[in-house]
Assembly symmetry: C2
Homo-oligomer: 198 residues x 2
């Protein structure tokens, strides 16, 4: 198994984290995002969207970080990470969309401006980030894990990185006690690994 990776990407990290929790080896291939490697023809032949991460397994390229979590869960994980009944799958899909949309546009975008100095409206991204943090914190006041009360699922792994990295976008995480407790539960999972900034 091979992962087209970038060490500072929260989307790549969520895949590395799940692989570590599953105890699976992966060959990491670093992608020079700052040098534009992901927009070159040889990379676009692997992923036309020009994004990392890309997982290559058994000759198949799988991209989008949420999709890779789905793949790994179905293929290599205990069913608790991605239960198969309709309601559980819908709850998880809802959080995967939230990761791809609200989390990316909020704390993810704020971090791009704050840490990587990408142009854009930092203040607007921070406002969105605070809404995201408040919403997830309120949810976690009532539930231990995002999609299921009793056990972690790929929903937690999809949403966790850019929320935990919100400080890189100038967001103060200290008001959110339920987020802090959830971070601690995730960090206590056997096999947990961190990333720069966490």
């Amino acid at each position: 198994m091979q992962l087209h990776d970038f060490r500072l990407s929260g989307n790549c990290y969520k895949v590395r984290l799940f692989l570590a929790l599953l105890g699976r080896e992966v060959e990491l291939q670093q992608t020079d995002l700052l040098g534009g490697a992901h927009k070159r023809p040889e990379f676009l032949a692997v992923n036309p969207r020009g994004q990392v991460p890309v997982l290559v397994d058994e000759g198949q390229a799988i991209y989008d970080s949420q999709a890779i979590l789905v793949y790994l869960a179905k293929r290599y994980a205990d069913a608790s990470w991605y239960p198969q009944d309709a309601l559980s799958q819908a709850r998880i899909a809802s959080w995967l969309s939230f990761a791809a949309n609200e989390v990316a546009k909020g704390p993810g975008q704020a971090r791009l401006h704050g840490l990587f100095r990408m142009p854009g409206d930092l203040q607007q991204a921070q406002q969105r980030a605070v809404q995201v943090l408040e919403l997830v914190d309120a949810h976690l006041a009532l539930h231990s894990w995002l999609a299921q009360g009793e056990a972690p699922s790929i929903a937690d792994l999809a949403v966790y990185p850019y929320i935990a990295l919100a400080g890189d976008g100038g967001i103060d995480l200290t008001p959110y006690a339920h987020l802090a407790a959830w971070f601690a539960r995730i960090r206590a999972l056997p096999g947990y690994i961190g990333m720069p900034g966490l």
Copy 2:
């Protein structure tokens, strides 16, 4: 089954469309988005994200349009709409993320500015929209359907509405022959329904 709906929302339409293709009845409850009904406490008690659509089935509220497609497919549809093997699920999840992220930020956002006069950077949204259209058109040059070559899946329903509605955001769809052929294939599905603007 009940759907908190808004007739002009492409996200609500994708759910109405799938229900129509499945031949299932649903009670539509219109939500006055322009009057802010989705930000009032009674709505936030159903969906804390303050968004439509919300499907209520057997006492459970399911939200996020992609998650509702997953739920309906698992619960009520032929398996071809959402095959259960790891690779098919990953391919579909990848397009669901694309719908939640790139499609929403591109043609979806352009339409919000163009049709509903929401403030924001119309030109940037249009540039993103063109990238999305080019990418999907190139994919459809090689495949009849988005996630599987041979049959429609919920990936097609998730991506279709805001691409087909791109004209509302000032985008010219005429250069994209493979999109036009895909639209025709979708519109020929038994039970197909349209929406205002399509």
